[in-house]
Amino acid sequence: MMLEITPRRALQSHIATPRFETPFHPRIAALSETNDWYTWAGYKAPHSIFDEELEYFAIRSTAALFDISPMVKYRIAGPDAERYLNRLTVRNVAKLGIGRVHYTAWCDDHGHVLDDGTLFRLSADTFRLCCQERHLPWLLDSAIGFDVAVEEETMRIAGLALQGPTSFAVLSKAGFDGIERLKPFQLADFPHEGGTVTISRTGFTGDLGYELFVPAEAALSLWDRLWAAGQLHGIRAIGYAALNRARIEAGFIVANADFMTAETALRADRARMPDEIGLDWLVDAEKVNFNGRKAILEARRNQTLKHVLVGLEIEGNIPADGAIIYHRKKHEAGLVSAAIWSPLAKRNIAIASLTRPYGTQLTEDLWVEIYALRELQYQKMMKRARIVPRPFIKLDRRATSPPGLF
């Protein structure tokens, strides 16, 4: 719908600030020592804040605050919301209880993944969908015939991830009474400054952690509340580089980093079905209707799936980011999309895409060719890779309820 002239005019000034600043920006900018920014979905976001390696240890040892406001957020509400989302996404939304969150994905008609994300059931017929890419035209077109309203609320809602072993202690100290009752993938509303903050026990680190959502106006007061409460619990603000290490250890994939989303892929052969990026477990084949169902089930039946996403453990300690994978050191078998030396697992780990039958029938004798540039010279290495289950790390504290204080 075309906006009227007055609000349109008011928005002209965007050219003066081509990057949005998130509602938490004043606090993050004040803490930033490295002044190291990147652009995340049109927002200025910190790549690091004081030291990317030390920031990682804040996630694993104390509590880390990470601004997730740039995540694209849609509010989906109406009598048909559940039915609509069941048709849109591959997982069964009828099984998602009120006050629960699940990880899911959605596909185009060809069964190619448009994005993955988290679906929050805020009430019987109100949901929030959080994801990496923008999908408003897709979501609106999908809503034809459903009594449902789809509204993008990325700017209106500020989001904050609080992750790490003392995150529960921080929230308790901050006075969020009842937080101890939240189990993994559960959410609840808590009072904050005359309004509410929605807190879910979710995260992207594989650690104990929470995600908090508030209206943008309440963002700074929420930050301050957490920051004050966290002083004795080692709270630190972190940037994406640290989070990325944690998410690789947790085995999570990132859209348009570990797989190309169907709407952004220029090359037709880059699109992927859920089964090709390790998301087969999300697909509820029992559901009668969901978008892409026919194509996905056909590909399974006809065994035409072309790729598989796997976790790798690679010998040695040199990260194999972007490396080509070979079978018997000879036949090209795939590509590493993310790799780090895992401080927690003390292993050289990677997330990789393999072209079937590599990774399915042919799982042995895989090698990774690493080109490490060291002082203007490439050290070329062929290292053995073993397929291992994801996550690469498993932390009991993530799921313990009630959670521990550290």
């Binding site: 075309m2 906006l3 002209q12 060809h110 408003l136 035209p137 892929a265 037709a268 052969d269």
Partner: protein
């Protein structure tokens, strides 16, 4: 009397490109240009002291970088400067801009519609996919599907393979893209009229069709498959005006030993025993050549320069009916100072890009309705640029050159010829439109050149002033351009070739027709080009 290896009729950009490649392959080439300057429709002319006018073509994107490299055009002075986006002014006092920066672009579209802002990504992806398919075909001779020569078969297989890399969905999309109207195509993505009007302009430029006419979606694609230094779809200004392209070509040609004769108007192609043997100039002088190559359009070449009895009847019939209709005019204006557009915020980059005033699809289609009635548009569509905002070489400091491409403008007015009074009245429709959005605009005008199809045909030689030497609709592309069976630069007259935009892949300052024609001529002569880069990889 000297006999050249090749006599080129016309010194436009394609003629010069072909001439350069042929000369560098060791042939002795003569370029004959009727005007006192070379350049055809890519010229920079000092029509008022201190100002250079890109008085025909005015922006650059399609010119193939492979050709710039092969012919060493940078060494001969060619520079292309990318510019940023542009804007359409709306009648309610706002505007909608486009920006190179992805996020700025989305935020600008979101001022009108959040949905359209996000839909643009899908649109851009689909258009880019189609461009990636077509781009490599620009620098290849179109295969003749009815010939069984090994080369045609292998080229068809190449096409088939390229097409095969598409998903079934994309294949269907390709066929739709090549045949749909730009209006229907944009409706599938966008809801906001002004956004559609902005994007539709590339679908109608230079074309005697309206945005609702089938076939215009491809015209849009044709304007998107260029690049500035690898930035696909970007447009830029040739530093020094579009004449910089042809000046660099002429300089490169002469540096490799080629000869240019200006003021040499070719009246006729000479033939002996059905074979081209040279040309006769308007003053009766005969210039002999082993081969004759025509940079003129297919109609001018075969309906004016070649005796009809040398040609097969069906061929002549096809040439007569090749669509090359005049639809546009041009205003070139010297300005005393940079015009102000109060609708634009200060520091807006739009002033350096292309500016428009047609803010609805209906206005655009109505402008076409006037053309159908044999009238110029009362409310014309204007593509306006001020290259001097980025190029310091075209006007004195503080002063500016403005180029206004205007549509629609018929070759004749209600069946009669244009008069000077008509031309001035046509110019007034444009000036008054600009003045509506830019107070004091008229007072800034120091000099103005107005070109209707009459002036363009008379000076540049383009039949009806059609800027593409033939419309870019699917019925006139690939092996149908210009005539089925003669789409590989050869003609029914042995020794006579075509190299202008009437041939594959068509118009725009691209150079590909000239380069491909040279490749075919060298093949016939069993000669190897000195350097002829294949199309850059699209990976």
């Amino acid at each position: 009397m000297k006999k050249y290896d090749v006599v080129m009729i016309g010194g436009g950009h394609n003629g010069l490109v072909a001439a350069c490649y042929l000369q560098r392959a060791g042939l002795d080439v003569l370029v004959l240009e009727k005007n006192d300057w070379v350049g055809g429709a890519a010229t920079s002319r000092e029509l008022t002291p201190g100002f250079l006018y890109s008085n025909c073509s005015y922006v650059c994107s399609l010119f193939r970088p492979e050709i710039m490299r092969d012919l060493e055009l940078p060494k001969h002075g060619l520079q292309v400067i990318a510019y940023e986006g542009g804007a359409v002014f709306t009648r309610d006092g706002d505007y909608i801009a486009s920006y190179r920066d992805h996020d700025s672009h989305r935020r600008e579209f979101a001022r009108y519609s959040k949905r359209d802002a996000e839909a643009y990504e899908r649109y851009a992806r689909d258009v880019t996919r189609q461009c990636r398919f077509i781009q490599p075909l620009l620098m290849r001779t179109a295969p003749d599907p009815f010939s069984f020569k090994p080369r045609d078969i292998s080229e068809l297989l190449y096409l088939g393979k390229k097409f095969g890399e598409f998903s079934a969905h994309d294949m269907a999309q390709t066929l739709r893209f090549w045949t749909m109207s730009i209006s229907d195509f944009l409706d599938e993505y966008f809801e906001t009229d002004v956004i559609k009007a902005y994007l539709a302009l590339s679908g109608i430029i230079g074309t005697a069709l309206g945005p609702m006419s089938p076939g215009t979606a491809y015209v849009l694609l044709h304007h998107y498959m260029g690049e500035v230094d690898g930035s696909v779809g970007a447009w830029g200004y040739a530093r020094g005006g579009m004449g910089a392209v042809t000046q660099a070509l002429a300089s490169s040609f002469q540096a490799s030993g080629g000869t240019i004769r200006t003021g040499a108007d070719v009246a006729r192609v000479m033939t002996r025993s059905g074979r081209a043997t040279g040309v006769v100039l308007a003053d009766g002088e005969e210039v002999r050549g082993n081969l004759v190559v025509s940079n003129a359009d297919v109609k001018r070449t075969f309906l004016k320069l070649v005796e009809e009895d040398a040609l097969p009847e069906t061929f002549v019939h096809r040439v007569k009916h090749f669509k090359m209709r005049g639809s546009s005019g041009k205003l070139n204006i010297a300005l005393d100072s940079l015009p102000e557009f109060p609708a634009l915020p200060k520091n807006s980059s739009c002033i350096r890009g292309d500016l428009h005033f047609t803010d609805s699809m209906e206005r655009m289609e109505r402008a076409y309705d006037d053309w159908k009635g044999g009238r110029y548009s009362a409310d014309p569509f204007v593509d306006m640029v001020i290259p001097t905002t980025l190029d310091p070489t075209m006007a004195p400091p503080g002063k500016h050159f403005m180029s206004c491409f205007v549509q629609y403008c018929p070759p004749q007015l209600e069946g009669r010829d244009w008069t000077d009074a008509d031309r001035d009245a046509f110019a007034e429709t444009v000036v008054s439109q600009i003045a509506d959005y830019s107070p004091g605009f008229r007072d800034r005008i120091l000099h103005m050149e107005v070109r209707t199809p009459r002036e363009i045909e008379a000076e540049v030689g383009l039949t009806e002033g059609n800027i593409f030497q033939g419309e870019l609709t699917f019925d006139q592309l690939l092996f149908n351009r210009p005539v089925p069976g003669y789409a590989q630069y050869r003609t029914p007259v042995p020794g006579l070739y075509l190299c202008g935009s009437s041939t594959h892949p068509g118009g725009g300052v691209m150079g590909a027709p000239g380069r491909n024609a040279a490749a075919e001529i060298l093949r016939d002569l069993k000669l190897k080009p000195a350097e002829m880069s294949p199309a850059h990889d699209v990976i």
